[in-house]
């Protein structure tokens, strides 16, 4: 920590880090740049990096042709709905595990985690069948439920690790002060856990947004989110690079921005607290 590094060495590592960083980021950057080119410029040889005529026409065309807004709205509803529903179900559960632990708490937590590891393809047909029977196929409700269920273990886990950092004495103080269980959770626990709850929501929103097995297999035209929207570009429209890029940029932009906020919580959420 408190060691001084020669600025020469720092310059060297800085250069290296930036080169690597830009290299890794390049596909995203290239996609964003291409989205502002004309189709001709997009496939020009040799490729044009920056000095092209910036245009927004691809965005207009993509919106026109494939109704981006509807997919975006579906994505927001599905990711947001499944996350919120998950949090509402998970907060009481995480409260129980964090503050009234029993001998079985650990087993329950691990079991919940194990449901997350069920390979989706193994239960594809049963879920498909159930969706038909229940009229949930290609509905946002159906996807909200499924994505909530696959992310519920992560939500419970994240909340659990955050709640565990809140001293139990404060909740006991609330109890002594005459708060009912509901008041204790609503007025004391939740406000104290806001940062943790916020990161949980953020991370799970991202995971739900990017989920690309159930969203592809359980939706068609009506309830498809952005993952399905992009998959529809796999051919032959994929050959129109500028439009593909515009569509891609629109699909990832919201989440890239959210993702930047959540990078710290990412580790904790995705390793179930095993790495902090």
């Amino acid at each position: 920590m408190a060691r001084t590094v020669t600025s020469q060495r720092k310059a060297l590592t800085t250069a290296a880090a930036w080169i690597v960083g830009l290299l890794i980021f390049f596909p995203i950057l290239w996609t964003i740049l291409t989205s502002f080119k004309t189709e001709a410029q997009a496939i020009a040889s040799p490729p044009i990096f920056l000095n092209f005529d910036w245009t927004l026409e691809n965005y207009a065309i993509v919106q026109d042709r494939s109704d981006y807004m509807r997919f975006l709205w579906n994505s927001i509803i599905i990711a947001g709905g499944s996350t919120l529903l998950g949090v509402i179900i998970a907060v009481p559960a995480a409260w129980s595990m964090a503050f009234v632990p029993s001998k079985r708490t650990k087993d329950i937590l691990l079991w919940m985690l194990s449901t997350k590891m069920l390979p989706a393809v193994g239960v594809l047909y049963p879920i498909y069948l159930l969706f038909i029977k229940l009229g949930l196929l290609d509905t946002r409700t159906g996807l909200v439920i499924v994505l909530m269920l696959i992310n519920l273990p992560i939500i419970v886990w994240m909340l659990y690790t955050y709640f565990r950092e809140i001293p139990g004495e404060i909740l006991e103080a609330a109890r002594m002060d005459g708060a009912t269980l509901k008041e204790e959770i609503l007025y004391v626990l939740t406000p104290m856990a806001i940062p943790g709850i916020a990161s949980t929501i953020l991370l799970n929103f991202i995971l739900a947004w990017n989920e690309a097995f159930w969203t592809l297999n359980l939706t068609a035209a009506k309830a498809g989110p952005l993952t399905a929207f992009i998959a529809s570009y796999s051919s032959p429209e994929g050959l129109f690079y500028a439009k593909l890029s515009a569509a891609s940029t629109m699909a990832i932009a919201p989440i890239l921005i959210l993702g930047w906020f959540s990078q710290k919580q990412l580790v904790r959420g995705l390793t179930f607290g095993a790495v902090k």
Binding site: W18, P92, G122, F213, A251, I252, L266
Partner: protein
């Protein structure tokens, strides 16, 4: 640490989550298990009765089974090797004092937030296309013959795409782990005269071993079931059919639910073997 009243409240409040997950696990699993013992062809006669272990036997004896296992192992193994090795190096680099650290971190993490369908499509068309892809331009620039990536080198291409997506995850976790290393330990080693390579080998790497294990296990679970990357690139052609994709095809293309379900049971068993190891690590952490 609590009263009977709060314990029963706790049970009550845990109930919705537990019941939902229990249903989510048991209902489809039971159905898959049931189907796996049936001769079930929805498009060709529907449920044609009990099949015993036929589906299980047919799934593993089919000519596509072993190639699919092989492909799965190659993808999982390849991605793990690439992401862990590059991840360690990147984490070490990002742990150094650099100007604009926050921005570089964001650049490195960004691919993780790109939805799988997007990254697969972008790589497939804009980089790996044999005519207009950037790689083709690059090869031509050096006077080489462009590679038809997703046909001639389909598996490495997919490994590359998936590695690009998961490298940020590995890097981020390993970086977090490195940062939790007590710098006094390193300084002590330096005082003891250990050169930097030895410090890496004897102090940093052992410290990272747990994080590396976690990365390997979590990635394995996700990688075993990668889907969208194959779905939008090769559709399982050119030796890129993984076990997951094979099962998917048995169900959706061949409409052989019995066979696909038996495959699903195999996949579940496989995932559980990995999961047990992960749970051990996570469980230990719970007690601490």
């Amino acid at each position: 640490m609590a009263t009977k009243a709060s314990r029963s409240a706790a049970r009550l409040m845990m109930a919705p989550a537990v019941i939902l997950l229990l249903g989510w696990m048991l209902v489809p699993l039971t159905m898959t298990l049931w189907f796996s013992f049936r001769k079930f062809l929805p498009m060709r006669g529907g449920d044609l009765g009990w099949a015993g272990f036929d589906n299980y036997a047919r799934f593993v004896t089919s000519s596509s089974f072993w190639p699919a296992v092989y492909t799965t192992l190659l993808i999982v193994g390849g991605v793990l090797v690439i992401t862990v090795m590059l991840g360690v190096l990147l984490a070490l680099l990002l742990d150094q004092p650099i100007w604009g650290q926050g921005v570089v971190r964001i650049l490195v993490i960004a691919p993780f937030f790109v939805m799988p369908t997007v990254s697969a499509l972008v790589w497939k068309n804009m980089f790996m296309d044999p005519v207009n892809g950037l790689f083709a331009h690059l090869f031509k620039f050096f006077g080489a013959e462009p590679v038809v990536w997703l046909t001639d080198a389909a598996l490495p291409s997919i490994i590359m795409i998936v590695s690009w997506q998961w490298l940020p995850f590995a890097t981020l976790i390993l970086l977090t782990a490195i940062q939790s290393l007590d710098s006094e330990q390193l300084e002590a080693a330096e005082m003891d005269g250990a050169p930097s390579l030895k410090r890496f080998w004897f102090i940093i790497l052992p410290h990272l071993s747990r994080a590396i294990t976690v990365v390997i296990l979590i990635q394995t679970i996700f990688l075993l079931s990668i889907f969208a990357e194959i779905f939008v690139t090769t559709q399982g052609a050119f030796d890129t059919r993984t076990l997951t994709y094979l099962i998917f095809q048995r169900i959706t293309d061949a409409q052989n639910i019995g066979l696909g379900s038996a495959g699903g049971i195999y996949a579940i068993i496989l995932a559980n073997i990995v999961a047990i190891f992960l749970m051990r690590i996570v469980g230990k952490n719970l007690d601490a």
